[in-house]
């Protein structure tokens, strides 16, 4: 299927989803749907680096939080531009701020992408394991900086007050939901595009045998940097609307380990080799988590995620997509 057609179909599905939610007219659906879609973006972001290149990122929470805190930073500037800018800049700045949410999302993506670039440049020349460990470290360093930075709330946290009503969409949560829906469609299209391009082939050679790829003239470092930037930017964009969704952010919630676990578990459960896997994994696991959180408890839902991750990694290394492919192949044979 060609990319424009694919985009069109995916957008049609997304539009149908929004309209049916709108028809049911229950705000909880939008709240839960936002989280599920957010995880579709996060799982896709992780898979660009982890699934295509084979580099494990444990610092997903860090990249996500960069998006979150870039929004808080610009939101706080927008709240009181007079304290931040000198007199002569105040006029134009008051015209620019407060920034609209789509711009904040782009900014979050840019910052997280830049951090991904720096991170990759420092560690990607080493063995893959070091990259994984360094990403773990990155999340903690970033959290320490945020805790010690009063302007974005420090350890006390920061409040973001979303407007109550917004034109066209009605409630603000609907607006957030639509933005996240667009992001999810965008990231899936991007992942599919990458997968089928020369870039994706290059990524696959790195995953399968980096030394051989390097020897055959694949510019491995440059490709890996492209992957970290793309993956980081998607994480950042997924995190940027989060303060508006939750209303109050403190470092513990923005850097929550469950983002890191989910970011790995979802693609692993779905299957890491194509764009379908993370989407399927995120949709299933995240919906399950929503149900379990409401019916049992949030600690149990994390336990289920962890156990599912271990179980799939051991028993079904290629995830649900792998199981499905194996099943259809066997059926065709018989």
């Amino acid at each position: 299927m060609r990319t424009p057609l694919f985009t069109l179909i995916l957008s049609a599905i997304a539009a149908a989803l929004y309209l049916s939610f709108r028809f049911i007219d229950n705000d909880y659906l939008f709240f839960a749907g936002y989280v599920v879609l957010q995880y579709v973006v996060i799982a896709t972001a992780w898979n660009v680096l982890g699934g295509y290149c084979g580099y494990v990122n444990f610092g997903s929470a860090g990249f996500f939080a960069i998006g979150v805190y870039s929004t808080i930073f610009f939101y706080n500037i927008g709240q009181s531009p007079g304290d931040v800018f000198p007199e002569f800049l105040l006029g134009p700045m008051q015209w620019i701020f407060p920034l609209p949410l789509p711009v904040l999302i782009l900014l979050g993506g840019v910052f997280a992408g830049l951090v991904g670039l720096g991170m990759g440049y420092l560690t990607l020349r080493l063995r893959g394991v070091f990259f994984a460990i360094a990403t773990l470290a990155l999340a903690v360093v970033l959290e320490t900086f945020i805790v010690n930075w009063p302007f974005v709330g420090g350890s006390r946290g920061a409040y973001v007050i979303p407007p109550e009503k917004i034109a066209v969409f009605g409630t603000f949560i609907q607006y957030l939901f639509v933005l996240m829906l667009i992001l999810a469609v965008g990231s899936l299209v991007a992942a599919r595009l990458v997968e089928r391009s020369r870039l994706g082939v290059g990524f696959a050679t790195i995953r399968d045998d980096e030394l051989a790829a390097e020897a055959s003239g694949v510019p491995t470092l440059r490709l890996k940097l492209v992957a970290t930037v793309l993956s980081g930017a998607l994480f950042g964009m997924a995190g940027a609307p989060f303060p508006f969704y939750i209303g109050y952010v403190e470092p513990g919630s923005a850097f929550n380990l469950s983002y890191a676990v989910n970011a790995i578990a979802m693609p692993m459960i779905g299957g890491t080799t194509s764009w379908i896997g993370p989407m399927v994994g995120a949709l299933i696991l995240s919906t399950l988590q929503q149900v379990v959180t409401v019916t049992i408890s949030s600690a149990v839902n994390l336990l289920i995620t962890g156990l599912l991750l271990i179980g799939f990694v051991i028993l079904a290394p290629n995830g649900l997509v792998g199981l499905w492919q194996g099943w259809t192949a066997r059926r065709n044979k018989s």
């Binding site: 420092l122 470290a137 336990l303 990694v313």
Partner: protein, 289 residues
């Protein structure tokens, strides 16, 4: 008295560093020598802390004695985990990406189980020496730091002797360099790896007891040690126990000085910053191979 403060910061740092050495010893064996990236290690340390806590609060036995008694349990746990790891990943030759995810899942599951059983309250132990301290001039040695530090150094020395003097210890060093050559010598590399991994897990029991003597423990306390232990392990040079000890003391002192003069909220960034710096500048570490 700025000078007294510095002296005491260095002393506290050295004792902290000795404790870090015990925490890192296991990682140094599993990651440094066997190439098994056991990120779940800190999770098992916290498990050790909680075992020390349960037995201590029920029976009143000293946590470090409990740890010694728990050594065989952790050794067996290590054999079990390695068995699963070997069967599912190492044998199939996909140990990198999925193996990492496996251990990450294990870390997470251990933590969530502890939360479900014990809740998210701080737990601590009572021993005769938790409150006391020895003073020599301006120098202060709190016993709650000194006792774990001394026992930890003893454990470290025993481990180093075992690795360098016994047949199995030398075989562990050999398996990291050339498992095939080991097979030619009629030694089963898998068995050696299993023993080494179980040993690394057994150190968790000790390190966990030290941790809960030094400070109250939460189920999520393990997280702050993940980066720290890998920082120490990489800084010391992978698989070098003496290097690990030096790096642990170094990071302990730097962290302690940072805490004393800049406040505790900056301490976590110290080891991580050093880790990133080491990876960028000298990935082979201080005493690297």
């Amino acid at each position: 008295m700025q000078f007294d403060l510095l002296i005491n910061a260095i002393i506290a740092g050295l004792m902290l560093g000795a404790f870090y050495a015990a925490v890192t010893a296991g990682i140094s064996i599993s990651f440094g020598m066997l190439d098994i990236v056991n990120i779940a290690h800190p999770g098992f340390i916290i498990l050790g802390s909680y075992i020390a806590y349960i037995v201590n609060s029920r029976l009143g036995i000293d946590p470090i004695v409990v740890a010694v008694l728990a050594l065989p349990v952790f050794y067996a746990l290590g054999a079990l985990v390695y068995g699963i790891y070997f069967q599912s990943f190492e044998k199939r030759g996909q140990d990198s990406l999925r193996g990492l995810a496996f251990f990450f899942g294990l870390l997470f599951v251990t933590e969530v189980m502890l939360i479900l059983v014990f809740g998210v309250d701080y737990r601590s132990v009572t021993t005769t020496y938790v409150g006391g301290s020895i003073n020599i001039g301006p120098m202060e040695f709190p016993l709650r730091m000194l006792v774990p530090a001394v026992v930890s150094l003893g454990m470290f020395a025993a481990l180093q002797l075992y690795m360098s003097r016994t047949f199995i210890g030398r075989a562990v060093m050999a398996v990291s360099q050339d498992p095939q050559a080991l097979e030619l010598m009629a030694v089963d590399p898998t068995r050696i790896k299993r023993i080494a991994f179980s040993l690394s897990m057994a150190t968790c029991a000790m390190a966990g007891a030290f941790l809960i003597v030094i400070q109250p423990v939460l189920p999520s306390s393990g997280r702050e040690y993940i980066g720290r232990v890998f920082a120490i392990c990489v800084l010391g040079g992978l698989g070098s126990l003496p290097g690990t000890l030096i790096a642990a003391l170094l990071i302990g002192v730097i962290e302690s000085i940072a805490t004393t003069f800049y406040g505790p909220s900056w301490a976590p960034a110290v080891s991580f910053g050093l880790l990133l710096l080491t990876l960028a500048v000298r990935p082979s570490g201080l005493l690297g191979r």
